[in-house]
Amino acid sequence: MHALFTTVWMAASPSEVLVRARKGDRSAFARLFERYAPMVHGILVANAPSSEVDDLMQDVFLAALERLSSLDTDAVGPWLAAIARNRVVDTHRRRARLVAVRDVPESGAPDPERVEALQVLAIIRTMPEAYRETLVLKLVEGLSGKEIAEQTGLTPDSVRVNLHRGLRQLRERLGLSPEGADDV
């Protein structure tokens, strides 16, 4: 097992992990951040070019690590989500030339399934904000509606409605039957 995970955390509750992370325990913040990493990744994927997602991930969690000890709330998920969204806005705001959020074609032989995934993602990125993030968190990151609500601070009803309507709209745009929209 990796050095950061050598401390036994199996019995610690999320709040205990947060307390220990605030005190500078490396294995605690690794465990805390790993829990929210898919959510942060999803928000970045929904709003930023894929080529910038890794760098933005690093930025978000470095900023979080610096400020964790002074965080005056237990709502870590919404806090990280806000940092991620701010980083995206910051990136767009300060970029000398504003360019559309689209992915640069990758070199080498194209992977048909990945190409298809990027095409679907491009469509999602044109959808309303409320649908865009919840759809990415569900379809790209594989989070459940309950997990999305818990980690982003949205109400479960909002997540359910956004997923249902967003999925129905997405399937329409892809020319698919709408049945799958109920599987949320």
């Binding site: 999803g42 690590l65 005056d72 298809e116 799958g180």
Partner: protein
Amino acid sequence: MSDPLSSLRRLGYQPDPTRWERLAAEASRQRRVRRLTLAAGTLAAAVVMAGLVSRVFAPAIGLPAQLVAASGEVRAVTLTRQWLETGTSESMTVQVADIGAVRVEAGSRVRLKETGPAQHRLELAAGTLHARVDAPPRLFVVDTPHSTAVDLGCAYTLTVTDAGSTLTVTSGLVALAEAGREVTVLAGMRATASKGRPPSTPVSVDAAEAFRAAVARVDASRDEEALRQVLSDATVADAPTLWHLLAVVEPPLRADVGAALGRLVAPPPGWSAETNDARMLGAWWERIVEAR
């Protein structure tokens, strides 16, 4: 044909425990650099004090500063990582490398956290400083107990009291960050911050008290009545305030904020309250800055 939605999982987050190892290493590296800088500064100070080398050969230590007493007496000092307090009747001027200068008012407590080609960083625990910086964005930073002020090319005044920090920008623009929110304060505007809470939405220094109070109520409780007042009273000087509120309110009210802002500064083609696309927000911001 397979469902194309299933292919999306290929783009998802890949668990990578080494990510946190690298992150911790990077954070440690930054702390180590700061410690080494401090150690080098301390060593250099000892060397200088012992008179073993001439000033010409001594490495740069902290930032040069001048304490100016009310009597006019000037005393040269060096701002280091040690806290330095100005007396009740003296001010201090700090030369920040070749990018600008900082004037620290009487009764202030300040120290240097970092200085180098990548960043110059001060910490203000109490009192007031006035900064004038001519440098690339994010090269000059001031931490307070309540926020972080990041220079984006500007002149500003930062005041710290027990209640919080107040940033007033006199030229250019400054970012103020805390608790996951970063606001951009343009010249002629002011924002405040208190520990652990997001900075306030920036408001023009010339704004009426009622307008300022209404913005504060929107920040604190998303008060719809206060928002209506802000939207009806806003002038073109308040466009940056409304722009920041676009990111704060939910879509039904966001449309009203967008409409009010659009009457002051035209939105970029394609912006919609429902989408509130980050690229569009960025483009709108550029228009607002240009309109001032």
